[in-house]
Symmetry: C2
Subunit: 179 residues, 2 copies
């Protein structure tokens, strides 16, 4: 998912910037830049911090979300981790077998299952948090606090834009079906 901003070509005789729409400059395409950073951080955190504990990045993501947000229904956990429901279900089963999380009946509905960190899971997350913070600090080295604040705010905005977009398109489809 990326690439795609037209490459800047030398100025035309009349001074306008000429772009070739079939040429692309990945270094300026936002989804490419985002994917690159996400991949390289996940790869290094996975190899250095998680592998010695036999954890994958997906298992870690689920545990981190539970540590931050407490007990969650599986459907909410899928949303918070950006992991699709069927993959998430397999990950939770694996975490249960490792005694890192527990599946319990939801407080609000008897038919719903909620997932929470176990004591062992909480202890493991607490142990890995300093490494995770260190990794974030190394990724952001040389970036001022003000710029970092802009980056984080913009990333939250982008996520919100995409979420609203998805909701709007679902609403449009529902309306079309209703008509």
């Amino acid at each position: 998912m990326w690439d795609i901003i037209p490459e800047r070509l030398p100025l035309a005789a009349d001074g306008r910037t000429v772009t070739d729409s079939r040429k692309v400059n990945l270094a300026d395409y936002l989804p490419y830049l985002v994917n690159r950073v996400g991949s390289i951080i996940a790869d290094q955190f996975g190899a250095e911090t998680l592998a010695p504990h036999r954890l994958s990045i997906a298992l870690w993501r689920v545990m981190a979300v539970l540590a931050a947000n407490g007990r969650q229904r599986q459907i909410d956990l899928a949303d918070l981790t950006s992991i699709d429901a069927s993959t998430l279900s397999r990950i939770v089963t694996r975490l249960v077998r490792l005694n890192l999380v527990t599946r319990t009946r939801s407080a609000t509905s008897n038919r719903e299952v909620a997932v929470a960190l176990s004591a062992k899971g909480s202890a493991l997350v607490a142990r890995l948090i300093p490494d995770a913070r260190e990794m974030e600090a190394e990724a952001a080295a040389g970036i001022s606090p003000e710029e970092l604040a802009v980056v984080k705010r913009c990333l939250r905005r982008m996520y919100g834009n995409m979420k609203n977009r998805a909701a709007a398109s679902t609403a449009t489809r529902a309306k079309r079906v209703a008509v």
Copy 2:
């Protein structure tokens, strides 16, 4: 890969901010924010633009890199796409079968294989570029050009930081082995 900035707690009696290092605030943790944005853009671009062409996001990434950078050795293509070498090899095989890329002998070494877009592949990328640009514009809606420039510059810096970090750690390991 994420989570992990200490949650801000109410001010202590002496006015300092108190943090609980075992509590985490994902909404402020950079790797979490990056992963969320990357995932939601890839999901929506995949479902709306790529699925009708029976392309996955991974196939698209390879094609986009080839469109932007021209013919590449497979090892460079792995680096440019952030896809590991063995997965990439399978993807290239699939793209060759779909007649979207070709494998040719490298110009510099007879033993090296290089990958390039076919005419059909180039035409397909050109057709999908407007959708990819539109998706980027929708993700960045409401963000000023100045802020977007900061975001892109910081993302490039973060990638560079992580790349240098990996190189430094490889160099350290090599030195240890030598000693």
